[in-house]
Subunit: 338 residues, 2 copies
């Protein structure tokens, strides 16, 4: 049974309850799945916006500005900052938190940094579930800020309704790279630090690259599993706008917010939002199954005992991980019980 | 049965055979596990050196210099460059490959960039297995170059015999971060770009931080699974040397190579190398089991069919991923067959 008091406090958006629920989920503490299952019906109201881009593109500053702009428009905002390559940026994350402290005093804003190494689940699974907690807590907008897109473990496009790719004029070399995968993922492009040389050229190059793509306007969000049924069907995309901002001065932020809202409305109207959410739901359900299966294998079957038995033989080169895996699998198939 | 011709070519260090074997492993193509199992007895001769550090620290240049130095000393060298946050650095990786082209003409050197999103296995598992292929092919030294340490999916300390952490004077802020996790992982510290201001202070700060640690000289390499038997036992560490290099000019590289060899010899003599390898082997075997179990669940049981059946109900909010996972698990426990 889920903790009903925690659920009630979560619904009332108590910061301490939110933090506690997130910690439960992050650490896979007893009852976290019951909690997530209980809040599930309340999930789906928040708009989830992914902000991604290379290190140093100004994602955090832009996130802060967007959060402020949404607050000014009467929306509540949660920010989930994830960095799969930490702890190098541990300092930066801390800095962000300090920088966003003015926001943190506002009960309509909740900021959480994640640097979890996903123990039994993956980072993507856990991030999705943290977003669910925030969604159930009633935040109108959830900003998921992360480096890495397209190929990283935490592909934000697999988590967000809508993905904003932030670049800087110096990312020029990246255009070539953009064509090979990232282009398909972003719903909105931002050239930040647009007062630097090369910003106009950068915008132009992105637009040209998008134009090239126009003849082949299908998106194909890569599925997590290389397994059938992963909902890989290509669906048409809207043309992604390219905006310029100077986040540090707040310039272009209002236009960006407007563009995000328009794109969100457009993908909602076209049925694409529903399609994305369905795909996300399918993928995440598979991940929840994987996690549960893993727990079962190691905690409730003979797998762990067999593994321990074979460890010396493995170390002695008398068997291989693949032979041991096969043995354990045979045992599972025969209905292994501890 | 593994492909015996491929095995023979691999042993003879044919570049095309190595590349083919690596691709098989990276993509999990049929027979890859049989191949890995067949080469397993030949694995364990290569010294695996992890080179890690923040973006821009000069890891690639240092890697190239080390490779050259080892070649000059008559050793064969394989380089595995991994970037879990690509494709932003796709350009950079390409640049590296071009930069290292002089080395690539040398049959005693093999360079491979990896930007795999681990389909059924994880990036760490796949990287370990790619290293096995190179190990079996008879390379004396394998350099694994990657960003991210300690918390990232690809924690190089879980893969290498010995880990070198490369920083630059500008990483100064990072010292605070170092104390919280990274310090325990590195066997060697390098302050690269040591002709820049702040290099001496940086070295000093690292040494002070190491001194603080001296009172508590235990390492605890985090295990992948939050499960018992992951061989988490703390083992004593040797004091990690702090070196200065200017990789772009080749300065300090000979000293670094010497320090790597000494540390390697020291951890070998103390029995720590064997302990690390055993821990690595245990962890990887668990991962191979996880991968095999996942494949079994989705391809050989009713899980996939059940999942497909529930998809509409999920989308309609009539059930939750957690309830579906429980159903599938119950079915597995009862001896699910397709």
């Amino acid at each position: 049974m889920p903790n009903t008091r925690l659920l009630a406090q979560l619904e009332a958006r108590h910061p301490a309850a939110i933090a506690r629920a997130i910690s439960m989920v992050e650490n896979g503490r007893p009852g976290f799945e019951a909690l997530l299952s209980a809040i599930f019906p309340a999930v789906g109201r928040a708009g989830r916006i992914g902000i991604t881009g290379p290190p140093g593109a100004g994602k955090s500053t832009l996130t802060e500005q967007l959060a402020k702009a949404w607050r000014a428009a009467g929306q509540t905002v949660a920010v989930v900052a994830v960095d799969p390559t930490s702890p190098y940026t541990g300092g930066a994350l801390l800095g962000d938190r300090i920088r966003m402290e003015s926001l943190a005093l506002d009960s309509g804003v909740f900021i959480r940094s994640m640097a979890t190494r996903g123990s039994l689940g993956g980072l993507a699974t856990t991030t999705r579930e943290v977003c669910d907690v925030l969604d159930a807590a009633g935040f109108d907008r959830i900003i998921i800020e992360t480096v890495g897109v397209g190929q990283s473990e935490l592909d934000v496009a697999r988590i967000a309704d809508l993905t904003v790719l932030v670049m800087v004029p110096e990312s020029g070399d990246g255009i070539q790279t953009l064509k090979s995968g990232v282009m398909e993922i972003a719903d909105l492009f931002v050239v930040n630090k647009a007062d630097r040389p090369g910003a106009d050229r950068m915008r132009h190059e992105i637009e040209v690259a998008l134009g090239i793509r126009a003849g082949n306007a299908f998106r194909n969000v890569p599925a997590h599993h290389g397994i059938k049924g992963s909902a890989k069907a290509p669906i048409p995309v809207k043309t992604a706008p390219v905006l310029a901002t100077i986040a540090a001065k707040g310039e272009g932020v209002a236009e960006l917010l407007q563009a995000i809202e328009s794109q969100h409305a457009a993908i909602q109207a076209s049925g694409e939002l529903a399609a994305r959410r369905r795909r996300r739901l399918a993928e995440r359900t598979r991940e929840v199954v994987d996690r549960a299966a893993r727990r079962w294998v190691w905690r409730e079957t003979r797998a762990d005992a067999l593994f321990e038995e074979r460890l010396d033989q493995l170390a002695g080169g008398l068997t291989t991980p693949y032979i041991v895996a096969q043995e354990i699998l045979e045992d599972l198939k025969e209905g292994s019980r501890t």
